[in-house]
């Protein structure tokens, strides 16, 4: 069902899927038989997926299909929900993420997350960005200043806030707050950035700026974005995973499943699975 690890980017259109030039890129994440339960309820099942480095991967699908749930497995955010239980394996650079000795806090230093509703801390802009580095032991003001500035620059926010770093972050607009949250993520120099519907609370211009930002920073971070906006997934991502729900015959509840995972241009021009076709074109029944 899944595509092989051919990494040649087809959107350039020059080389095509030339097998002679394909290089093996070790996956950043790999899941096997991943399933997540909330209490008795199986929210998503049998997810086998490989996320490649320096790619933007999008998860799309109708509501309740488990795409956010799967995303939150990658930084162990599901640990915060008492009734959540993860089965199967999630590997991060080959290491079992849910292994006994793995510290969730360390995981989250390397796998950052941006949420649907911007959630800046009720502190100054500077302190928002300095929080993470301070946790990591960086105390010198000059170093913190440098990190704050570079993170804000990469998040395309520096010019707008450089004169009011001490002002409260709550005074920024929604789009600015979300870019602040992205900068906050960048400030701890993670390996991966997970984005859970980052633009759904924003207007189209703010959304476009964040999409541009994603393209700019994807060289340095692996990005996985959950979005219910198919057009956004099409614009922004290199690979797209389509999830859907299936009714469980015994319990009559819906469980999420991974249907198709392929290059974005294929998903949106000629998807392999009929269910994917039905979802992206809006033809059901």
């Amino acid at each position: 069902m899944m595509d092989t690890r051919v990494t040649v980017k087809t959107q350039d259109g020059v080389e095509g899927m030339d097998a002679n030039n394909a290089t093996e890129a070790a996956p950043v994440f790999r899941t096997r038989d991943l399933a997540v339960y909330y209490g008795d309820f199986r929210a998503v099942r049998d997810v086998d997926i490989e996320i490649r480095g320096q790619d933007i991967t999008a998860f799309i699908g109708p509501s309740g299909c488990g795409k956010s749930t799967v995303l939150r497995c990658f930084d162990r955010m599901n640990d915060l929900i008492p009734s959540a239980r993860v089965e199967g394996t999630v590997e991060y650079h080959g290491i079992d993420l849910y292994g006994k000795d793995v510290d969730a806090v360390e995981v989250r230093r390397r796998v950052g997350m941006v949420f649907q509703k911007p959630n800046p801390f009720p502190k100054s802009i500077y302190d928002n960005l300095a929080f993470g580095p301070r946790l990591n032991g960086i105390k010198k003001k000059s170093e913190l200043d440098e990190i704050v500035e570079s993170s804000l620059k990469r998040a395309a926010l520096w010019d707008e806030v450089k004169d009011r770093l001490k002002a409260s972050a709550m005074g920024l607009s929604g789009g600015q707050q979300q870019r602040l949250c992205i900068a906050r993520c960048i400030a701890v120099k993670p390996d991966v950035i997970l984005m859970d519907e980052p633009c759904s609370a924003l207007d189209p211009i703010a959304t476009a700026r964040i999409e541009d930002l994603m393209q700019e920073i994807k060289q340095d971070f692996t990005i996985i974005i959950v979005t219910h906006n198919m057009q956004q997934a099409a614009r922004v991502s290199d690979r797209t995973a389509f999830f859907t729900t299936e009714v469980n015959p015994e319990s009559d509840r819906r469980t999420g499943v991974l249907v198709e995972f392929d290059d974005t241009q294929k998903i949106f021009s000629n998807p392999g699975d009929d269910r994917t076709e039905a979802y992206v074109t809006g033809r059901f029944g």
């Binding site: 259109g13 949106f268 000629n270 076709e277 809006g282 029944g285």
Partner: protein
Amino acid sequence: MEETRKLFHKDLSEVHQELVRVAAGIVESIPRCTTILLEQDLTGAETMILADDDVDRRTHELEQRCIQILALQAPVASDLRQVVAALKMCAELERSADLVVNICKAARRIYGHDFDPRLRGLVVKMSEQARQLFSEATSSYATGDAARAAAIDDMDAFLDDLQRQFIQAVLESHSAGRIDLQVAIQLAVVARFYERLGDHAVNIGEKVRFEITGWLPEHSGADRFRQRRTEGTTSHPAGGESS
């Protein structure tokens, strides 16, 4: 789950049906223009030439509708292929209708001159083959039958053959003094028109295959170029390739 974007899908199917109607009209017009040619029917020719304006109008409107759909609906996957195929087909159909008009204009030019039964027989055969090709193309588009569309290419080979035979016969007729130079040239050109009609039918078949499966035809030139490049026999200055 219920179907969504119903208005959009209705739009798409209306475009599809209108294209089928235009194509069907062209299919019917092929034997008619042949009759006009063979019977040297001037009024008939006049009517058909004027009727082409209507085809132009209809394909133009279809093109505009397709562009509108692209702008407003952002189609993806099969919907996108359908719109792109429809856009390309407008061009094919419009050119095909023009070819029929050209045959009628040729009929006007050879008015008063007669040509021998062998030539006439070949014209009828070419016309029939072209009509059949175009009919196959139209049917495969109407029913979405990619396999049927793929078979059109083989039929076209026969038409090409007929055309060569006809040219041969025209040259013989001319050297035997049965027809004069003007008529010979016009007849040769008419043969081209029928052969081009067949080519357009093949193109339509390719569009159908693209719409159904996403398959894009690779023109032999691209393949040759790649061959040459991998063999290292091509040397061209930087930037010489266009995408």
